[in-house]
């Protein structure tokens, strides 16, 4: 019991030391936190953007229908059966040429029955829903091989473009974030190095009065963790602002795009960013501690 109390008091002292160290270099701490926040915000921003693009692609994809126009003399019902048996096909609706003709008449208006004037020029049509947009090209190819099929139409080009943009966004995000992370590590490490130098005397005395290495390193690791925490808090602000202001503007500009991010996803994202931020803070500080405290150890 007494040894646990002793440990707790030691931890309390480590905590005090970390606070003292931070408060003595407030300006540098601030610089590190802002750098950290920039890196995390850009990572989070890219992440959200690519998620949004994915959402857009998915929602367009879910609306995708393959329109298959059949030969005039084809057996529509049996073709529909054949198509229904293909892999990845969710639903097949047969629209006979008579139904299509009827529908066209309805849409064009009732006053004038042009069906009496011309013969029905429309082919039988299959409206096909696929399981996932990614399968659409393959399904289209397979249907295209059926003899009865005259022509197939779907939004393949648009879909491919959106997916390409999403992929590019993700890659660009990763590249930019990678570079920023290295910068963040460098800035964190450097700040901790300065903190170590500012506290050389304390460290020397701690070592002389018998403080263990862990005990001496811990305040600096806590400082690194604190940088990560601070950076994430600012990032949270930035990302919420992004969602509230920027997204609502985007929605005004592109009302047809389904832009939205669920709160839960944003919290998850912030959780991941917090872990990354604190991890970076700790790694940056650990590298510095390992390099700059070794000389004075022992």
């Amino acid at each position: 019991m007494e040894s646990i109390k002793r440990r707790l008091r030691q931890l309390g002292f480590v905590w005090e030391e970390a606070l003292v160290s931070i408060s003595r270099s407030l300006w540098m701490s601030w610089v590190v936190i802002v750098t950290m926040a920039v890196s995390l915000s850009i990572l989070g921003g890219f992440w959200m953007l690519s998620e949004e693009l994915n959402d857009v692609a998915a929602s367009i994809g879910s609306r995708i229908e393959l329109m298959v126009f059949l030969d005039v003399d084809a057996d529509a019902a049996s073709t529909a059966r054949e198509v229904r048996n293909l892999d990845g096909v969710q639903e097949v609706e047969l629209v006979t040429r008579e139904q299509a003709w009827e529908k066209l008449q309805t849409e064009l208006g009732q006053e004038y029955d042009f069906r009496e004037l011309v013969e029905n020029p429309l082919p039988d049509t299959l409206r096909i829903k696929v399981d996932s947009p990614a399968e659409a090209p393959r399904v289209a190819r397979e249907i295209g091989q059926l003899e009865a099929v005259e022509e197939i139409r779907y939004g393949q080009d648009l879909l491919a473009k959106i997916e390409q943009v999403a992929r590019f966004t993700r890659l660009l995000g990763l590249a930019v974030t990678g570079i920023l992370f290295m910068a963040t590590l460098a800035v964190t490490g450097n700040t901790i190095r300065l903190a170590i130098q500012a506290r050389r005397r304390e460290i020397e005395i701690m070592q002389l009065v018998g403080a263990s290495a862990t005990f001496i390193h811990l305040p600096f690791l806590l400082e690194g963790l604190f940088f990560g925490l601070g950076g994430t808090v600012i990032t949270a602000g930035v990302l919420f602002a992004w969602r509230t202001f920027v997204q609502s503007h985007l929605r005004e500009i592109f009302p047809f795009l389904p832009i939205q991010t669920a709160d839960l996803e944003l919290l998850l994202l912030l959780g991941v960013l917090l872990a990354i931020g604190m991890g970076m803070g700790m790694i940056g500080s650990l590298l510095s501690v390992k390099r700059h405290l070794r000389q004075t150890a022992g």
Binding site: R6, F13, I205, V209, G210, A211, S212, A213, G298
Partner: protein, 229 residues
């Protein structure tokens, strides 16, 4: 308490600081290490609190082979040794009380205990009223007394004082020496390096003379004399 056998120390720069040193210090003894600058006194002290490691030979303190210690074992050793420095090594941004409490806080001592022990340590060195003062507001002698208080607050069995009077005037030097004697009388083994002939000659304690990295004389009630400045 201390057993030094055939200890040599050559620094990586090639400087040979100690050469085949043998020395025994019994528990409760008071020993002066004297000799000219660069004789190897400070190196010997550093070997004792394991700031340096001997190139050859063996040093044991309380039966522990100091040279074989690693990592956390070193901190265990140092908790049993109080060290006093010529330049005091006080933390400038902390009060006298905090400076002395520093060592205890690292050990996880309880608040009440810290209060009690810091107060009695400051009492012993005659600085009871100076707890809330910052080191730079004190005279050199007072700062050295703070350093002493910090060294003994943990009641270590061994106290190493490396040139404790190096920066002090004769009057103040005497005060420090009186304090070291007082601490010694409480049972703490004291090893003290010094240049101060006057102090050594008047204390009539054991004097070990080092010159050129070797022990050249070891007198039970010695004086600072022989061929050294």
């Amino acid at each position: 308490m201390i057993r030094i056998r055939q200890v040599s120390k050559t620094y990586t720069s090639g400087v040979r600081a100690l050469h085949g040193v043998n020395l025994d210090v019994a528990s409760g003894e008071f020993v002066f290490l004297v000799g000219p600058s660069g004789a190897g006194k400070s190196t010997l002290m550093k070997l004792l609190y394991r700031s340096e490691v001997a190139s050859q030979g063996q040093i044991t303190i309380g039966g522990i082979d100091v040279g074989k210690l690693h990592g956390s074992q070193i901190s265990v050793l140092r908790k049993k040794i109080g060290v006093v420095f010529q330049d005091y090594k006080l933390l400038p941004q902390r009060t006298v009380f905090e400076n002395v409490a520093f060592a205890l806080k690292i050990l996880g001592t309880s608040r009440d205990d810290i209060q009690k022990r810091v107060k009695s340590a400051l009492e012993l060195v005659g600085l009871r009223e100076y707890g809330e003062v910052l080191p730079h507001e004190l005279s050199g002698g007072q700062q050295q007394r703070v350093c002493l208080a910090r060294a003994i607050v943990n009641t270590p069995p061994l106290l190493l004082a490396d040139e404790p009077t190096g920066n002090l005037d004769p009057e103040t030097s005497w005060e420090i020496m009186r304090l070291l004697t007082k601490i010694n009388m409480h049972g703490t083994t004291v090893v003290c390096t010094t240049h101060n002939k006057l102090v050594v000659d008047n204390m009539r304690r054991r004097v070990v003379t080092i010159d050129n990295g070797r022990i050249v004389m070891d007198q039970a009630k010695g004086v600072y004399s022989v061929g050294v400045n």
